[in-house]
Symmetry: C2
Subunit: 124 residues, 2 copies
Amino acid sequence: MLERITNQKQIILNYLEKNKSHPSAEEVFLNVKKILPRISLATVYRNLEQFAQTGKILEINGATKRFDGDISDHQHFICNSCGTVYDIFCKFPSAKNFKNHNHKIGKIENYQILFYGTCKKCKK
Amino acid sequence: MLERITNQKQIILNYLEKNKSHPSAEEVFLNVKKILPRISLATVYRNLEQFAQTGKILEINGATKRFDGDISDHQHFICNSCGTVYDIFCKFPSAKNFKNHNHKIGKIENYQILFYGTCKKCKK
DNA sequence: TATCTAATTAGGAATAATTACTAATAATAA
DNA sequence: TTATTATTAGTAATTATTCCTAATTAGATA
């Protein structure tokens, strides 16, 4: 399916490119509404998803919370296709420097690395 | 407030420690229910949050989706207190090795590092 | 061991976040 | 222009999470 350029898309994308506040979908909606008063929230959600999938924007956080009883030092791989979360036990040397680092923004108390891709099960 | 040990807490924690599937709250609820048929979903949510805050378990993903129109190479710092998302432009040398790495689980197409802490505004 | 008290619980209502549906609209190809 | 079909507005439905309240119970104390 060919992708069409609409006014709504252009204004949403333009808002995100100019705005550095990492807005939620609701916040994008409220702000874009100032320019396009009749835009629908569903349109915002649909386009944000499309933009994220085509690499035009980044998606931070999101999805359902998941929990892990294993608190040892490891990271996670999330399959874009089936959503399964896998453990990654590889060590990342520079990662240790992250913890307790005093960044100008604040002290880093914790961090997690989320890897995305398609798992081998889904590749088949 | 002193923290009390309840049957519900023990069984939830025990389930998470034995289970490597990174379950959602709903999944924890359904499985713990097999042992405690009368447990409430709210109890599961409440305890999962408490466990995560006291470092007994890890919380993966979650929270409202946020979007960033800046797709340049950078990471994010999320304030545990006010939820604000900040950009972190520091370079992490080993990070470059992540992308396109063929892990046994699948090919890493993308990754993001989420840093958590309290931002300086909230520290005051 | 009985009693007290505050943390915790079950159950359900309420809210927040996201997705699905449908008829109308509009972008682009012919 | 016209035809085709992606996209949209508006809203309903669904999913995820939090809030509320009376009843229960863990653990401290008598």
